[in-house]
């Protein structure tokens, strides 16, 4: 059989990388479109934050069918965490999750993330990256919280675009 495994794997790997690259660039091109249409008076950060909000809600909604409370809240939280990890891994980040010391607390750490690189390439301020990522992560939780009748939040503790070497975020149940 004429089949060269390495060649085929390389082809597949290369197209995955190219797709990840295009997704980032596509975002940046649309950002520019939005800024052009918004006009000079608009604050670019506001435009990008609005985008993060819309994207976050959309992504959160798409996770709803894949999450379940049937096996209790701990398992549900695992499901939520895996969705965060899976989403970023697909886009080319290297991300890990670790349970925190408190119940219903998880730490997510990114050792590698493609977005600061895109920001550099398209001359987007690094702080915009941090704030948008933050807004995106939080808006994912909007519908998830309402749908499952829970209150979770996520906060940024460290960020690669701030030169801190990694992004570290705490996903936690809000204490009432």
């Amino acid at each position: 059989m004429a089949f060269d495994a390495e060649k085929e794997i390389y082809k597949t790997w290369r197209s995955k990388k190219a797709a990840q690259d295009e997704i980032g660039k596509m975002y940046m091109r649309w950002r520019q479109v939005a800024l052009d249409l918004a006009g000079e008076k608009a604050n670019p950060l506001d435009v990008s934050l609005k985008c993060s909000e819309i994207m976050g809600r959309e992504v959160g909604k798409s996770w709803l069918p894949r999450m379940s409370f049937a096996k209790g809240e701990e398992n549900w939280l695992k499901g939520l965490t895996m969705n965060y990890v899976g989403w970023w891994s697909t886009l080319g980040a290297s991300i890990k999750a670790q349970p925190g010391e408190k119940p219903f607390e998880v730490f997510l750490s990114w050792n590698r993330c493609p977005w600061p690189t895109f920001c550099k390439e398209y001359e987007v301020p690094m702080e915009e990256d941090v704030l948008c990522c933050d807004a995106f992560l939080k808006h994912i939780l909007k519908d998830v919280n309402v749908f499952f009748n829970v209150e979770y939040d996520i906060e940024t503790l460290k960020a690669i675009p701030r030169g801190q070497g990694q992004c570290l975020r705490r996903l936690f149940k809000v204490e009432k």
Partner: protein, 663 residues
């Protein structure tokens, strides 16, 4: 004194002797119902875009009314708000104004014309509503999990009170139109179930909070409707006995049972037991759920209530409700889909003509059509939703037009065509090289997850073929010589599909086998199997082999596995494939077949190997056999079913029926 609307005496019917409980009377409220049969409310999307009743819906209902032989016959649930937030289906009947009464009266009259009891259902679709407007209403703003549904907004207390009044007003209009029984629909994700469930009701006012609060709107509606319609019109309610929403923190079974008690205390005259929501991730009524699986819920309800208990949910054969009623675990046999598939199902039971029943195959195409704004059709019943159209009924042919028809193939397409043509007066001869009726359905029905029920189609067609005098020639292969010898007036080729051949595979190659031989138990299959083709035949054989412990992979050109299965059932197969460890490479072809492995090629040209001892062929093509022989003789001819274009059982039956009418 309880009243009886129509006199029925079943004592002379064989079916009544066989099923004495089904054909015994019962009191519901102040009404005597002569039997235990109910055609459950069924949306059909047949009414006009403003909610006015059409001829199609009247005719649809008339045939179901004939079917219940004196029992309860419910029309579809009506929406009741002029803002149309409660409208869940584009062709749903409306009742928010007196102007709808004359149309509704036509339905009540049609039901009474068959001496059946006319049931009216009040149904605000709530969370799954707003089909024609941008947003819907609900007790709270809980987002939708499925994209096909509109966003919801929380109703104010005033709006809830208005909604309660809308139910009361609609009930009054229903009585004015002539209906005898009122039913409140609180099921599957519709508005009242949204109020009842802890999943969708987060209110803290009088319409929310604990279970009593969540039931408050239901209680007000029951009491309001009862007062409005008076003591002679029973008022029942449909409520979930199990919501099957554990994944989203819905009500517990105990809470659901408590809702039943509250409804009874509020004055409900009967309770119709249901299970699950449209959003439930558990299968409830598809073919993979064995018949009778939910009857324990009726038993649970009977244990908690004094009022009569009704239930449908896969009770497709009379033995199940008969036994349950005898055991005191149920009072009414409700039917929805079994009477979509055969409106006369209970009538045939009464007349002891059970083999003449066209059985529902629980495929849920009817539901899938509604969700996609299409008028109802039935997978297995070509006449469904065409009851008003005389052109869809077999019309007798004049003596001069009677033909001698040769049908080649005794599968579902050929047999459907055969009995319809024979019923019209033609002389029909069916040939098949096999010695059994059923064609490829014989093997297809061996796939797991309920597919054995597909064979009910063969029983039905065989019975009707015998009834109308179809001549069967089994074990007889048709060739050009036989055609010219017999010289029929018309030939129908229902020969089934031909199976595709992979390039580079020699005929007789032992590594490659046919799906029919695998399901029929005639083929040797290795431990590692690749199934070529990702439509239903491929999925069926893949699951069958995986259940035998084999490692199975599907490779097919369609973008997703099960392209030919309707979305309301397809999600089940996706889960079963996953559960049975079957990988599907969709959007892919087989580039090469080697020893112990095949090479799969993706749509964009990447290749990878997949282990394979045996390759099962399920890809099919149209069958050109005999076409030229018939054309050569200049005989009128038709090609139907998979021989024309490989599709599914439904297309075979529908093709056969239509050509049977036309020939």
């Amino acid at each position: 004194m309880a009243k009886q609307l129509f006199e029925w005496d079943y004592s002379s019917y064989a079916g009544a002797k066989k099923y004495p409980n089904l054909f015994s009377p019962i009191q519901v409220g102040n009404l005597i119902v002569p039997n235990r049969i109910k055609y459950a409310a069924t949306e059909d999307n047949l009414n006009d875009e403003h909610g006015f009743i059409t001829d199609a819906d009247v005719a649809y209902m008339r045939s179901r009314a004939e079917g219940v032989v004196g029992g309860l016959c419910f029309m579809q649930g009506v929406y009741m708000d002029p803002a149309r937030k409660g409208q869940g289906y584009v062709g749903q009947a409306a009742c928010w104004d007196d102007k709808f009464v004359p149309g509704l009266k036509r339905i009540a009259d049609a039901i009474h014309g068959e001496k059946a009891i006319a049931g009216f259902q009040l149904m605000d679709c709530g969370r799954v509503g707003a089909v024609e407007v941008p947003s819907g209403h609900g007790p709270s703003t809980v987002p939708q999990r499925l994209r096909i549904f509109k966003p919801m907004f929380e109703m104010t207390v005033k709006e809830v009170e208005e909604m309660v009044q809308q139910h009361v007003n609609a009930a009054k209009r229903g009585v004015e139109a002539g209906f005898d029984v009122m039913e409140i629909s609180g099921i599957v994700g519709y508005l009242l179930s949204n109020f009842v469930s802890s999943y969708t009701n987060r209110r803290t006012d009088k319409y929310g909070g604990d279970l009593r609060g969540r039931m408050q709107a239901v209680v007000e509606i029951i009491q309001g409707v009862k007062e409005a319609v008076g003591p002679d019109v029973p008022v029942g309610i449909r409520l979930c006995c199990e919501e099957l929403l554990d994944d989203v923190r819905g009500n517990t079974p105990e809470e659901s049972l408590e809702t039943y008690r509250i409804a009874e205390q509020a004055g409900a005259d009967y309770l119709s037991v249901t299970a699950g929501w449209q959003e439930s991730i558990v299968p409830v009524i598809s073919r993979d759920v064995p018949m009778g699986s939910w009857l324990h819920l009726a038993k649970r309800a009977k244990g908690a209530l004094k009022i009569p208990v009704q239930m449908a949910y896969r009770l497709f054969i009379p033995e199940l409700p008969e036994k349950a009623i005898a055991a005191g675990e149920l009072d009414f046999w409700e039917m929805c889909r079994s009477m979509i598939a055969d409106p006369y199902m209970p009538k045939k039971v009464l007349e002891d003509r059970q083999n003449e029943i066209r059985h529902c195959v629980a495929c849920n195409l009817c539901l899938a059509r509604l969700f996609r704004d299409a008028p109802m059709t039935c997978y297995i019943n070509p006449l469904c939703a065409h009851e008003h159209d005389q052109g869809f009924y077999p019309q007798p042919v004049a003596d001069d037009d009677k033909k001698n028809i040769m049908i080649v193939g005794a599968g579902p397409a050929g047999m459907e065509c055969a009995y319809v043509a024979a019923q019209r007066g033609h002389e029909v001869h069916v040939y098949d090289k096999r010695s059994e009726l059923g064609g490829t359905l014989i093997e297809a029905s061996k796939a797991p997850y309920g597919d054995e029920e597909l064979m009910t189609c063969v029983t039905y067609q065989k019975t009707l073929a015998e009834k109308y005098g179809v001549n069967l020639h089994l074990g007889a292969e048709v060739n050009a010589d036989l055609i010219s010898e017999e010289m029929p007036d018309a030939v129908v080729l229902a020969t089934g599909p031909v199976y595709s051949q992979l390039k580079g595979v020699e005929p007789g190659d032992k590594r490659v086998v046919n799906v029919l031989d695998v399901l029929g138990g005639r083929a040797q299959v290795g431990e590692t199997v690749v199934v070529w083709g990702n439509r239903k035949p491929g999925i069926g054989v893949a699951l069958s082999l995986a259940k035998q412990g084999k490692k199975v992979t599907i490779v097919g050109e369609d973008k997703s596995a099960g392209f030919d299965i309707n979305p309301s059932f397809k999600w089940r197969y996706a889960i079963y494939l996953r559960q049975n460890g079957v990988n599907a490479y969709n959007d892919c072809t087989i580039a090469e077949v080697g020893d112990g492995q095949i090479i799969v090629k993706t749509f964009d040209g990447c290749k990878f190997p997949v282990k394979c001892d045996t390759l099962v062929v399920t890809e099919r093509e149209a069958n050109e056999d005999l076409k030229s022989a018939v054309q050569g003789e200049g005989i009128e001819f038709y090609v139907i079913g998979d021989a024309l274009v490989p599709r599914n059982l439904s297309s075979a039956v529908h093709d056969g029926y239509r050509i049977g009418l036309r020939i």
